[in-house]
Amino acid sequence: MTAPAEIGPASGKARDRSIALVVVGVVLLMPPLVGVSLVDGSIAGVPVPLVYVFVVWVTLIAAAAALARVLRSSDTIDSSESVNDATG
């Protein structure tokens, strides 16, 4: 996707966001930051570390789902080839 004409400003932004999402995920889930969740106590009866990891996880998934829609429309996949391959 080197031809600039094929890239709208919105999708370029989306790609920046997709890399930012991975970075945010790594930072939130890796030490030292993930260590802040190591506190006694629970939220709705579930221990905090468990809640923290699963909430960050599901948030990442939701953000990825939102981004996938934008990225997919920005990608110029030769759909005719895909159809050929799918049937051949």
Partner: protein
């Protein structure tokens, strides 16, 4: 406990269902009616073979023992899929563009279609996969034993392995699809993915809301160390596990198979980017509750690895236990089937087929039915891999050491990561670098993790594990170079992957890639740039269309080969027959074949037939990297500028000479007009007197007329001399040379000026040389030169008693006549001047003639192959030397 018959019946029914699904989908694929099967959901579900029985049963065990740590195994893949745009998309694009059949194919193809690299990757994959398959067999056997009561574990494992081999052979090698895709298998494992997710969710819901009263009740009174584990949960091991799982989702042969090879539409990846993490999320959501409830409910000492099965059984929920069993069965079988397909493809394409092709096709032509051979080899490989897995299970005796094999396999395949990522993002990676990295990483993995995992039973003895080989503590497998105190897994990853990456980068930067490597590097790294991802053609050669068609038919099958060639012929504008074997056709064929037998084999096969060998010069320049072009350009530039420098110097010199000649010409014209003016002035003034004045006496008149006459003669002589010198110098005068005697010539010249010398009182001493000495010269011209020199010596000699000496010297093939006088000669500065036209020595006055005598004399001598020079005697006096070629030896 359920009755064996019930369990067997349900299992059999489930297997029949899987076979039916695979069969129906395969048939629909053939008739090209895929419908909903061609959906991103099916693709995503097929990727979920990541969750093997190791997840299904083992995750609960891990959670019961180490708390939250197990989650890291699912966070890595989540991060990779969330960032799909940067890595997975490129892998899939490359895989589709180059018809990649396996991870070994990708790495070998990237590094110049290297067969040896493919073999290396295949061997590593095989060694890492076999124990993993054994682990699945073990968990299947154990779960069967739990649900159906104790029975012969080995026999159970054997029949399970045999059943999976049958399924894999039936649907994994049903057709040699050009893209190595198996829609039937994909559909079956997608169904299995749904079953295992539902089973785990059902058990989770049962444990949470039936055995306990919701999440709050599950976690009530649970000490924190049960949740977060005894040690530091978010430490080095957490990071390494995340890294390993992220690596495994790319590098595991089976994951590569479903994610890259089986991908039928690149856009499916965007859906999988969030749907697959969501699937993992669903799989892990209830792991912790099941583990904790199991710890609470089950009797102490119960194996937590089987809680998923034993919890429903202990509560007499047989239908749920059966579902859980089917979930575990699905997890194990789907993994084994895909892993077997993936590794057998590698084994067959990169090890068996190259050997078979070499044996069968010793000559140029390919003999035998390669297609059938390929199918047989693929099937044998499947049998061999499952057999190895079974053998491994049998030999390890179902020991607990197997449980750790999941992570060990992860570290094993993580050795592919540097070459893989380096290959698709870095043009500088070379084959040697990749081979060095892989070998080093593989060796360190085996030494620090794989062999120690047997606890001292295989190759490495317990003593070696404890003290190092031969007691060298620095070489202890689990504390290499004294790197102590690390978790063995962390230790092994740091060493093997670290050294692997380092070796890859360092060796790559030290070695030069070959032409094909560079080309492949470019088309892989810049895969988005190429139109349609098709690699550009660089090989040249000739091929017979018939041979190519024959080859295609043997490997791709008659129908597909025919339609492929018809299509290519149509693209060339032909209505029938075979297409011309252009480079495009050959490349297309190579790509189609590589979809069946791998890039390295296809490359070797097609090139053998097409007789393509070398890259042309222009193509080589095309793929030469920028720095090389820069070097060339700079070199050229330097050469050009040096050339310019030289030209400039020459031009400057020429310019100088032109300036000097111009100045000389100006001076000459000035002198000439001066010389012409003197006689003209006297002619004009005397003729004016004669014209205007009447009373000029006769005597005066006669004197005047004689002066006019004299001056006219002088003018004529001057003009004659000018004409003479210009003709001599221009070479347009032809001097007839003859043999003349030197003494005679000198005598004649002396006779001619005898009157002059007598009048001037000059003593002439002549040594005319030996009689018979002859030179090649023109007698008149030589005399002219001699007389000129002699009369100069008479005229410009200020000495009170003037003398002239003439001598002859023989000098090899030349003869010199020296003319000297006692007038002091000329200075060195004058010597350079006197041969210039109109120049005269200081002693000269303007009483006679112009300064053309010496220039003419020199021009004459040079025209006669001789010379006239000024020489200096040792005492500093100068004399003239006439040099001529002698006529006889």
């Amino acid at each position: 406990m359920l009755s064996v018959n019930t369990v067997l019946a349900v299992c059999l029914g489930y297997v029949v269902l899987l076979f039916a699904v695979a069969f129906i989908v395969d048939r629909r694929t053939r008739t090209r009616r895929l419908g909903w099967l061609n959906s991103p959901v099916v693709y995503t579900l097929s990727i979920s073979i990541y969750c093997t029985s190791w997840t299904f049963y083992g995750a609960v065990g891990s959670a019961a023992r180490n708390g939250l740590e197990f989650v890291a195994i699912y966070l890595g893949p989540t991060l990779v899929f969330v960032g799909w745009w940067w890595c997975l998309r490129k892998l899939v694009r490359i895989g589709r563009a180059h018809r990649i059949t396996s991870i070994a194919d990708l790495i070998s193809s990237r590094y110049g279609k290297s067969p040896s690299l493919a073999v290396l990757v295949t061997v590593i994959a095989l060694i890492a996969t076999t124990p993993y398959i054994a682990l699945q067999l073990q968990s299947l056997t154990r779960s069967y034993q739990v649900i159906a009561g104790e029975s012969d574990g080995v026999a159970t494992a054997f029949w399970i392995a045999a059943g999976m081999a049958l399924f894999t052979i039936l649907f994994g090698t049903r057709n040699l699809d050009a893209n190595e895709r198996h829609q039937g298998v994909v559909a079956a494992i997608a169904l299995e993915a749904v079953v295992k997710l539902l089973a785990l969710l059902a058990v989770g819901v049962f444990a949470t809301w039936s055995l306990a009263d919701g999440f709050a009740d599950v976690f009530a009174d649970v000490p924190p160390e049960v949740v977060v584990g005894a040690g530091e949960v978010f430490g080095a091991r957490w990071v390494v596990l995340t890294f390993l799982s992220a690596t495994a989702i790319i590098c595991l042969p089976r994951q590569f198979q479903v994610t890259v090879v089986e991908n039928i539409d690149e856009r499916h990846l965007s859906t999988a980017s969030w749907l697959f993490p969501l699937y993992l999320f669903g799989m892990t959501l209830f792991i912790m509750p099941i583990a904790i409830v199991g710890l609470k409910v089950m009797p102490a000492g119960a194996n937590p690895d089987l809680f998923v099965l034993t919890l429903p059984l202990s509560a007499e929920r047989h239908e749920l236990a059966l579902l859980a069993f089917l979930g575990g069965f699905s997890s194990a079988t789907s993994m084994v089937i895909v892993a077997t397909i993936a590794v057998s493809t590698m084994l067959s394409n990169h090890i068996v087929m190259p050997i078979a092709l070499r044996v069968l096709a010793a000559g140029r032509a390919v003999s035998g039915d390669v297609r059938a051979l390929l199918l047989v080899s693929r099937r044998v490989c499947i049998g061999v891999i499952l057999g190895l897995g079974f053998l491994y299970f049998r030999l390890s005796g179902g020991s607990d050491a197997l449980a750790a094999i999941g992570l060990i396999a992860f570290v094993g395949v993580a050795q592919f990561l540097p070459s893989l990522l380096g290959g698709i993002f870095w043009r500088g990676g070379t084959r040697t670098g990749a081979a060095c990295g892989l070998l080093a990483g593989f060796a360190l993995w085996a030494y620090t993790l794989f062999l120690p995992s047997f606890g001292g039973d295989v190759i490495l003895s317990p003593e070696v594990l404890r003290d190092g080989p031969a007691g060298i503590a620095a070489l202890r497998p689990q504390a290499l170079l004294g790197l102590d105190g690390l978790d063995p897994l962390v230790h092994a990853v740091v060493w093997s992957v670290g050294v692997n990456a380092l070796a890859f980068v360092v060796v790559s930067s030290l070695t030069r890639p070959g032409a094909l490597e560079r080309l492949q590097a470019t088309v892989f790294v810049d895969v988005y740039r190429a139109a349609g991802g098709a690699p550009s053609s660089v090989l040249v050669g000739t091929a017979a269309s018939e041979d190519l068609f024959l080859l295609a038919r043997r490997i791709l099958g008659d129908g597909f080969a025919r339609s492929l060639f018809d299509e290519m012929a149509a693209a060339q504008g032909r209505s029938g027959g075979l297409p011309d074997p252009t480079d495009a056709v050959i490349d297309r064929l190579e790509r189609e074949l590589s979809g069946s037998i791998g890039a390295a084999s296809a490359h070797a096969l097609v090139n053998r037939i097409a007789d393509r060998q070398s890259l042309g010069m222009t193509e080589l320049i095309d793929i030469a990297d920028e720095s090389q072009q820069m070097i060339e350009a700079a070199h050229e530039f330097a050469e050009k500028s040096a050339e310019l420098e030289r030209t400039a110097v020459q031009l400057r010199a020429a310019n100088e000479r032109l300036r000097a000649l111009d100045a000389q010409k100006d001076e000459f014209l000035g002198q000439l007009s001066h010389e012409l003016r003197t006689p003209m002035t006297s002619i004009r003034s005397f003729s004016e007197i004669l014209m205007d004045e009447e009373g000029v006496p006769d005597q005066e008149r006669r004197r005047f007329v004689s002066i006019i006459n004299e001056e006219s003669q002088r003018l004529t002589r001057l003009l004659d001399e000018l004409l003479d010198i210009s003709r001599l110098e221009g070479g347009s005068i032809d001097l007839r040379l003859e043999m003349i005697g030197v003494p005679e010539a000198i005598g004649k010249a002396l006779d001619a000026i005898a009157g002059t010398t007598r009048d001037a009182g000059v003593t002439v001493t002549a040594d005319p040389g030996r009689a018979g000495l002859r030179v090649e010269s023109n007698p008149d011209r030589l005399r002219q030169v001699l007389i000129n020199l002699l009369s100069n010596a008479v005229k410009y000699n200020p000495a009170p008693q003037p003398e002239i000496r003439v001598s002859v010297n023989e000098n090899g093939s030349m003869v010199d006549i020296d003319v000297a006088d006692n007038g002091g000669g000329v200075t060195h500065a004058e010597a350079a001047m006197i041969f210039e036209k109109f120049a005269r020595g200081d002693r000269s006055d303007r009483s006679y003639g112009v300064g053309l005598g010496l220039p003419i004399s020199r021009a004459i001598m040079r025209a006669m192959n001789g010379d006239l020079t000024v020489e200096f005697a040792p005492d500093g006096t100068s004399f003239f030397r006439i040099r001529m070629p002698r006529a006889d030896p």
